[in-house]
Every structure is written in structure tokens, then in C-alpha cells.
């Protein structure tokens, strides 16, 4: 079997997977501590928050949208959880209300974006300000400690596997299933490819779009609950700039900003890749002043690799089509 024909290289996420592998090989050679079980586990736990949010963001981008308020949703949900838990002492109540609130905030974003036909970037920029402002108002910008005992989502383990990793795997499997095996996934890709064609085909554009944003809100809420459990409490800078890390993970994973296609698995690998950069710099005891430069260079290389693989795939497609045409005409 020729390597060129192997299915792996036809996947959206093949470029980021290769880049991740290359980075791992380099770090294994450069630092003996890198390829240990404990460090790999640590990398996956660290990636869980970004990866879970990246799954939600992938749905939104595939559907032709974008949500830059997810960091603010994460902060707002964390605030609701912390305040409610402190007020009532009930973990299930705080957890339930927080997740439902995440769903509602996501749905509001989707509804506003589709109903009023305002660019999602602008809509979610507005809701970003509203959600963050509401959270600051709710907490008075104060830190709220969360007891370590209730931090199961962030610090617990099940059958020896850290809960954040299990949740990341679960969300990824559900994410892949929803996008590949359900009518919702099919409709979402159709809406993202061409809203006009989707409208002509009488697809439920409103329902599909709101559902994608709703998933984005839910994953941000879940990520927020993991994060405050790990950090040990609510702090007013939680989630700032996280939306850009999440979008970077999604784009690195092979999802196109123009919508219509993308890969859940690629987004998760993208999130792991981003964590690996910082992990590697820590492992190599790098100077703190080189972090941003190295991050930038590695990201640039990954994007170029992705672009080159796209070009190669397009050429393959043209070549195959030409061969097929030649076959039918002869």
C-alpha cells in the first residue's frame, strides 16, 4: 500500500497529528523527563479545559459561526457555581444550575446571531462584555475559594484515571458521534457550507445554529467547573483570553473558519499540541523571555504544515478526478 493512498493523510486532523508527533519526538530527545507516564497524564489533564471547549467551538465554526464569549461564559458559570455553593452548601444544586445556565447563555448567543443576522463576531463580542460584566457584578470582583473536597471534577480520579481526562474523552466521543452519525451533524455542515442552499432545502437553520451555540455554552460551563476545581476557587481573571486559545486549537485541528467542515478529533489534538509547547518549554527550563517567541514560531510552522497538506490534498483530488474522467471517456 502506498503511503499517499493511506486514509490517515486524507483526514482534516492529519497535519496537526503529524506536528504533535514531531514535537513529541523532539521533546523526548531533548528532555528525559518528557516521555514519562506522569508527564503525559499531566499534559492531558492540562489540555482538558481547552479541549472540551474546543469541541463546542468546532460545532459553532462548522456551522459558519464563531463565539468569542466562551471565556466570559466560563467565568460567569464559575461565578454562579461559587456563589451558589457558598450560599446553599449544595453541590448538586450549584452544579445543575451552572450547567443549565451555560446552556442558556450559549443558546442566547445562537439565537441572537441567527435571528438578527448580525455577524457572530460582533454579537458574541457584545455578549462577552455582558457576561463578564454580570459575573463581576455578581462577585464584586472578589476571589471565592472552592473547598478542595468538592473539586472532584478537577482533581478526582476514576479507576486511576483523572476525571478531567475522562470528561475530555467522553466529550470527544459524543462530539464525534453527533457530527458524524446524526442528522444534526449533517444539517450543521450543510448550514455552514451555504446558508442559502440550506434555506432552499428547508433545513431548520435556526434550530441547528442555536443547538451548536448551546453545545458551545455547555462545554464552556463544564470546562469552567473543571478549571475552578483545579485552581482552588474563583478568580476574576479566569477565562480572559481563553477564547483565542480555543479558536487556535480548533483551527490547528483542521477546521476551516469559513465553516462547512471540520474535525472534533483535530480540535482536541490541537488543544493537546498547544499544551505540549508550554510543557516542553518548562521541561527544557527555557528562559521565561522566549516563551511567546517559541509559541509563535511553533504555531506558524503548524499552520504552514496544515496549509501545505491542504494544497497536496487539492492536487490529489484534481488528479483523481482527471483520471476518472479519462477512464469514462476512453
Amino acid at each position: 500500500m502506498k503511503l499517499n493512498n493511506y486514509k490517515f493523510f486524507e483526514q482534516n486532523w492529519s497535519a496537526i497529528a503529524v506536528a504533535t508527533l514531531v514535537l513529541c519526538v523532539f521533546l523526548t530527545i531533548a528532555s528525559p523527563a518528557f516521555m514519562s507516564f506522569a508527564n503525559m497524564q499531566s499534559v492531558l489533564v492540562q489540555a482538558s479545559v481547552t479541549a472540551i471547549m474546543a469541541v463546542g467551538m468546532t460545532y459553532i465554526i462548522i456551522g459558519g459561526g464563531i463565539d468569542i464569549s466562551i471565556g466570559a461564559i466560563l467565568f460567569f458559570i464559575s461565578s454562579v457555581f461559587a456563589e451558589l455553593f457558598v450560599a446553599t452548601g449544595s453541590y448538586p444544586l450549584a452544579l445543575g444550575v451552572s450547567l443549565i445556565t451555560g446552556v442558556l447563555l450559549g443558546a442566547v448567543n445562537g439565537f441572537l446571531a441567527i435571528k438578527f443576522k448580525v455577524t457572530p463576531l460582533i454579537t458574541t463580542l457584545a455578549t462577552y462584555t455582558i457576561y463578564r460584566g454580570m459575573a463581576i457584578h455578581l462577585t464584586g470582583a472578589q476571589n471565592i475559594p472552592v473547598p478542595r473536597e468538592i473539586g472532584y471534577l478537577g482533581n478526582g480520579s476514576f479507576l486511576g484515571i483523572p476525571v478531567p481526562i475522562l470528561l475530555m474523552v467522553l466529550v470527544t466521543i459524543l462530539g464525534v458521534y453527533l457530527i458524524q452519525k446524526t442528522r444534526f451533524g449533517l444539517y450543521l455542515r450543510a448550514v455552514g457550507s451555504s446558508e442559502e442552499s440550506a434555506h432552499e432545502s428547508s433545513l431548520p437553520i435556526m434550530r441547528v445554529t442555536v443547538l451548536a451555540y448551546l453545545i458551545g455554552g455547555l462545554t464552556a460551563a463544564l470546562a469552567g467547573l473543571i478549571l475552578i476545581a483545579r485552581v482552588g476557587g474563583l478568580q476574576s481573571d479566569i477565562g480572559i483570553g481563553l477564547e483565542f486559545t480555543v479558536i487556535a486549537a480548533v483551527i490547528l485541528g483542521g477546521t476551516k473558519l469559513s465553516g462547512g467542515s471540520g474535525s472534533i478529533l483535530g480540535s482536541v489534538i490541537g488543544a493537546i499540541f498547544l499544551v505540549l509547547i508550554d510543557n516542553g518549554l518548562n521541561m527544557l527550563n527555557a528562559s521565561p523571555y522566549v516563551y511567546d517567541t517559541v509559541r509563535g514560531i511553533v504555531l506558524l510552522v503548524a499552520v504552514i504544515v496544515d496549509r501545505l497538506s491542504e494544497v497536496r490534498k487539492s492536487r490529489e483530488l484534481i488528479k483523481n478526478s482527471a483520471m476518472k474522467m479519462r477512464g469514462t471517456t476512453s
Binding site: V231, G233, Q235, P288
Partner: protein
């Protein structure tokens, strides 16, 4: 028949005119009083809201209230352009002085120039603006001293250990003068021990990044003996990591990892009380707030003031932090 009625009408007229005279006199006197004693208004341009900034702003407001000043507070939410516009609006409102905690010096310099042209004195608080041509004075924490005190205590705890001693330093943001100065002071104190190797990692003041950095540092260097957090709000994240590694031993226990930090938040206080952390340097935010307002008052009066005013913090250890709870701004 008509005479007594006429007399009554005259009396009523007299009374009404008397009341009107009193009312008019009162109104005129109140107008002239307010015109003569115009309330002094201070514009407070805040970078963004978080725990220590809120405490600092509250100290400023209390000090201003004592002097009878009015405070107009604007918050930029970390956006330099927003802060630029907010400062311009304070200039348009003709406030008597502006206290600014800058998001970014270069972006707001233009707005500060307008303030200068309008003869409104500008005082930078908490974050110095060393290259600004407009700021009349700075008042803030003595971050070099704060970092040094945390490092000095740590050095005392580590001095008996032989061989290479690895210390993890969780830096603040690399473009933040307070973070840079805390690191300078901390490194200076640790220089007293020749066998110490400092592993410095940037965190951008972000606890999630501090958590990941601590995890990674312990994977690469499992024998780290001490951790310095540029802000004590990161200590709970450090505790998460050390608990997961079964290294969260209290002060005095075998295998205890020395933890110090700077700030004075409840996170740092609680960790020091519990014995997870050895101690924290507490910033004197009340003093910083009071000094800011005093400088503003002096500049409004046209007096000259010192350009650089810093207030050192106080180190409290596990042994004495509870008895000094009243002096720790974040303790609750």
C-alpha cells in the same frame, strides 16, 4: 364690613412676601455657598477589577471621603483604548485631579497629555509610568522590597540544605513593572545562597497558567524545595498540584516545600494559617490609597510633591499571621 377683610388680606400678603423673602434668601445663600466651596472631584481611572485592585480603590474612596472629595470612577476592563477614552472624558468633565492605574502607558499617554494641557494633575497609582512626560507623581507598592522580604524568609528556611537546591519562581506578567520588581527583589534575596537554582516560569498573573507551570516544573524537576508565587492568589493552585503529588506537607513536617508569595489576599492568608504556605508579604493598600489622595490634594493646592512614592509591604509567617489578621487587607 369690608375693612376687616381688607386687613386680613393685607396680613396674608405680608406673610407670603415674608416667606418668599426667606425662601429667596435661603436659595441665594445656598447658590453662593456652592459656588464658593466647589466640591473637589477626583477622576479614578482603573485598569480592571480584581480583588486587590478593588481593595485599593476602596482605600482611595475612603481617603477621598474623609477630605470631602467626590470620586468619579471609570473601569477599562483591561482595554487600553477604553481607558484612553475614559481619561479624555474625565478631562472634559473638568475633574480636579486624575488617579490612573494604566493598562498600557503608550496608549493612554495622549489622553494624559490633554489632562496636562487642561492643568489637571495626574497621579499614577499602583503601576508606575516611568516614561510618561505627564505624570506628576507615582504611588504604589515597593515591589522590590516585597519580593526581597519573601525571598529573605525563604532563604532562611533553605540555608541548611546541602547540594543543589531548586526553587520554582512563578513570575507575574513579563511586561508588568510590579511583577518584574518582585522578581528582582526575590532573586536578590536568594543570591545569598550560592547553591540555589531558580527555575522561573511566566504566568501572566493567571492561576490556571501557574497551575500548569507548577505541574510541568515538578515533572521536570521532582526535587524542587521551594516555590515563590508573585501573587499569593496562585497558592491554592500550587496546593492542588502538591496535593496530587502527595507533597502538600505542612510547615514543620518532613518533606515540607517552602511556599511564599506577595499580595495579602484571603487565598494567601488562609494557606499561611493552615501551614501549607510559610508566609506572605502583605501590601499596605490602605496606606497606598491614602497617599494617592493626599498627593492629589497637594497637587490641586499647587504644592510640589515627591515624584516616586513607594510603600513597602509587611511579611507575616505562619507563626504570627493570625494575630495580625486586622492588617491583612484580604483576610476574612
Amino acid at each position: 364690613m369690608l375693612r376687616p377683610f381688607k386687613g386680613k388680606v393685607m396680613n396674608i400678603k405680608k406673610r407670603i412676601s415674608g416667606v418668599l423673602f426667606v425662601v429667596a434668601t435661603l436659595l441665594l445663600s445656598s447658590v453662593s455657598t456652592s459656588a464658593l466651596a466647589k466640591k473637589i472631584r477626583i477622576g479614578l481611572a482603573v485598569d480592571q477589577l480584581f480583588e486587590s485592585r478593588v481593595a485599593e480603590n476602596n482605600a482611595i474612596k475612603v481617603a477621598a471621603e474623609k477630605l470631602g472629595f467626590e470620586v468619579i470612577e471609570v473601569v477599562a476592563d483591561g482595554d487600553a483604548q477604553t481607558q484612553n477614552a475614559q481619561i479624555q472624558s474625565l478631562v472634559v468633565q473638568r475633574v480636579d485631579a486624575i488617579l490612573v492605574c494604566a493598562v498600557d502607558q503608550n496608549t493612554i499617554e495622549r489622553a494624559l497629555m490633554r489632562a496636562k494641557r487642561a492643568r489637571i494633575p495626574v497621579i499614577a497609582y499602583d503601576r508606575a509610568l516611568p516614561d510618561s512626560r505627564t505624570v506628576a507623581a507615582f504611588v504604589g507598592p515597593d515591589s522590590i522590597s516585597d519580593g526581597f522580604e519573601a525571598g529573605k524568609y525563604m532563604a532562611e528556611q533553605l540555608k541548611g540544605i546541602e547540594g543543589k537546591v531548586q526553587v520554582l519562581e512563578l513570575l507575574g506578567a513579563l511586561n508588568d513593572q510590579n511583577g518584574i520588581d518582585r522578581s528582582k527583589g526575590f532573586n536578590k534575596a536568594l543570591n545569598a545562597l550560592p547553591n540555589v537554582e531558580i527555575i522561573s516560569v511566566p504566568t501572566d498573573w493567571d492561576s490556571a497558567k501557574a497551575l500548569a507551570a507548577t505541574e510541568n516544573a515538578f515533572q521536570a524537576n521532582p526535587n524542587i524545595k521551594a516555590i515563590f508565587a508573585a501573587t499569593d492568589t496562585q497558592i491554592p493552585a500550587i496546593e492542588t498540584v502538591l496535593s496530587n503529588l502527595n507533597k502538600a506537607h505542612k510547615v514543620g513536617q518532613d518533606g515540607h516545600i517552602v511556599v511564599t508569595g506577595v499580595n495579602g489576599s484571603n487565598d494567601g492568608y488562609a494557606a499561611t494559617v493552615s501551614g501549607f504556605a510559610d508566609g506572605i508579604v502583605v501590601m499596605d493598600l490602605t496606606n497606598i490609597g491614602e497617599k494617592s489622595v493626599q498627593l492629589a490634594a497637594a497637587l490641586i493646592r499647587g504644592e510640589s510633591v515627591g515624584k516616586h512614592n513607594v510603600v513597602p509591604g509587611q511579611f507575616y509567617s505562619h507563626d504570627n499571621i493570625v494575630e495580625n489578621k486586622a492588617d491583612i487587607w484580604g483576610a476574612n
